[in-house]
């Protein structure tokens, strides 16, 4: 343990020295680039947590190194266009009448300028950073789960029990099954288990990949409202399609004093609103948690660059603090990645369980 701490302190020390070196290097440029260094942190964080048309990897000597992604848009003339995002030169150029809005309602999105000079949003199915990350993690998840399933197909029950990765997956699956799905849904659980498990692993793997700061990861997929929205809609649909008669009765004719129902349907109205607030809460919770996590990590990292103008001593002290805090928050985010996936699954299971109610007389 002691050796471990020594190693940590030693690497922090090295980091500090390296950091100071880079700060001194920056000092030379400071007068020239002072304006540029006074960066807009809000802008930077928003840019990082938002979607993008290219996958930015690193900036060296003010040169951006990024992976260009395919743009798929349908112009106002009704034609589909497929081209690389490199034609936009990171938002500095127009291509085929399309450009990336620098400000306004569609800031950062592809717009088409019509004859009146107005910016209109074309149908845009571009494979953005989030979309590509999504496809990547989906493929990864399918490969992982199917490889597990293949293991189970290959070995008989009597022969062997899983080890390593398959065992870890089984641990997660059985934990969810025994602690979440079975208690929440009841005897009909087998019908919904695949959906809930898919939701859990889908969110979990996207959360984890999102925490990796370099190329295949780092996209704020689960902190995007489109992602959480689709999942919430899936849960909403499943809850309401498979809802029992009793569930619908409790919405439109709940077991409350008649005057809450007859002249003005107060309770039914509340229940109907409740139908929608449940998945809405699911959507916002996941979105806000992951977004906040990414924003905090980015903010803490930005602390290093903000304090550059405060002198080398202050800057290096804040750099150490920033690194320590970032490590701490990153570890917390690992936990959050699991917890949010778990909570989404748990609440989905609870909502499905609530829609599976049988009449009070028919219990047991």
């Amino acid at each position: 343990m002691n050796v471990f701490f020594k190693k940590i302190f030693f690497s922090l020390f090295l980091f500090l020295i390296a950091g100071m070196g880079s700060i001194f290097a920056q000092d030379n440029h400071q007068s020239m680039a002072q304006k540029a260094e006074q960066m807009d942190v809000t802008e930077l964080i928003l840019e990082h947590v938002s979607d993008a048309y290219w996958w930015h990897i690193i900036t060296i000597n003010k040169k951006d190194i990024a992976i260009s992604l395919p743009i798929i848009v349908r112009g106002s003339d009704g034609k589909w266009h497929l081209f690389s995002s490199s034609h936009f030169e990171y938002g500095h150029a127009d291509y085929l009448g399309f450009s990336i809005a620098a400000e306004g309602k569609y800031k950062g999105k592809i717009v088409e300028t019509n004859t009146d000079g107005e910016e209109i949003r074309p149908l845009d199915f571009s494979l953005t950073k989030n979309a590509v990350s999504l496809l990547f993690t989906s493929t990864l998840l399918i490969i992982l789960v199917l490889s597990c399933a293949r293991w189970y197909k290959r070995y008989k029950v009597e022969e062997s029990s899983p080890k390593g990765f398959v065992a870890a997956m089984e641990l997660l699956i059985t934990t969810l099954l025994d602690n979440v799905i079975k208690p929440c849904i009841g005897k009909n659980y087998a019908r919904y288990a695949p959906y809930l498990l898919t939701v859990f692993f889908f969110i979990f793997i996207n959360n984890l990949i999102g925490l990796i700061p370099i190329f295949p990861g780092g996209a704020n997929v689960t902190g995007n409202i489109a992602f959480t929205g689709v999942l919430a809609v899936f849960t909403f649909v499943i809850v309401n399609i498979f809802g029992t008669k009793e569930y619908w009765k409790e919405i439109f004719w709940p077991n409350v004093p008649w005057w809450l129902k007859i002249p003005a349907p107060i309770m039914p109205a509340i229940e109907v609103v409740g139908m929608f607030t449940k998945p809405f809460a699911l959507m916002i919770r996941l979105f806000a948690n992951i977004l906040a996590g990414h924003a905090i990590v980015l903010g803490l990292t930005c602390m290093i660059f903000i304090t550059v103008s405060m002198g080398a001593a202050m800057n290096s002290a804040m750099s150490v603090l920033s690194v320590l805090m970032t490590i701490f928050i990153d570890v917390v985010e690992l936990l959050v990645a699991f917890i949010q996936a778990y909570v989404f699954t748990l609440l989905s299971a609870v909502f499905i369980g609530l829609s599976q109610v049988k009449g009070h007389h028919a219990k047991d």
């Binding site: 928003l46 947590v49 938002s50 979607d51 798929i72 800031k107 950062g108 999105k109 149908l123 845009d124 199915f125 571009s126 494979l127 953005t128 989030n130 979309a131 999504l134 496809l135 989906s138 998840l141 399918i142 789960v145 199917l146 597990c148 399933a149 189970y152 197909k153 029950v157 009597e158 029990s161 997956m169 089984e170 699956i173 059985t174 099954l177 087998a190 288990a193 695949p194 959906y195 498990l197 898919t198 692993f201 889908f202 995007n224 409202i225 489109a226 992602f227 929205g229 689709v230 999942l231 899936f234 977004l291």
Partner: protein
């Protein structure tokens, strides 16, 4: 705000991606795993039950064995004590038999000795009688011849007798 507006393009891709993942995993992924997990659970439960039964049976067998062993031990003890009794009885019988036989033999020997002694005594008596008659004969013959000689004869006889006596 930009962040709260879902982008239709991303919505589309998300729908496709999640739909495909859900379809694939719900068809070929999780059901297989869940089925196997259930089967393994059933198998483990079954094995546990079988192990419990086997244990119980083993316990029974052990008990039975102990019972048999203790029975055997009691039997052995009984046999041993019986054998001991038998041996003692046999020895006792042999002893009485031996002493009876010995007594008989002794009695017979005594009788034999007595008989031999009696025979010897009667033989001696007969010899002594013959000798006495012979002596008496010789004495009678000498007396008839001479007085002096008679006397000498008697002396000599007496001497002889003395010598014999001494």
């Amino acid at each position: 705000m930009n962040l709260l507006q879902p982008d239709p393009g991303l919505l589309f891709w998300m729908l496709i991606a999640f739909g495909i993942v859900f379809f694939v995993l719900a068809k070929w992924g999780f059901p297989v795993i869940l089925k196997m997990v259930d089967e393994r659970k059933a198998f483990i439960d079954k094995s546990l039950l079988a192990a419990k039964e086997a244990n119980e049976r083993l316990e029974n067998i052990k008990e039975e064995g102990e019972k048999i062993l203790s029975q055997a031990r009691a039997e052995q003890l009984r046999l041993l004590s019986e054998a001991k009794l038998l041996r003692e009885k046999i020895v006792e019988e042999a002893k009485t038999q031996a002493s009876l036989e010995g007594g008989k033999l002794l009695k017979k020997a005594n009788e034999d000795i007595q008989n031999a002694k009696n025979a010897a005594l009667s033989e001696i008596r007969a010899e002594v009688a013959v000798l006495s008659v012979q002596i008496a004969e010789k004495v009678m013959r000498q007396k008839l011849d001479n007085h002096a000689q008679q006397t000498a004869m008697i002396d000599r006889l007496l001497d002889e007798m003395n010598i014999h006596k001494s």
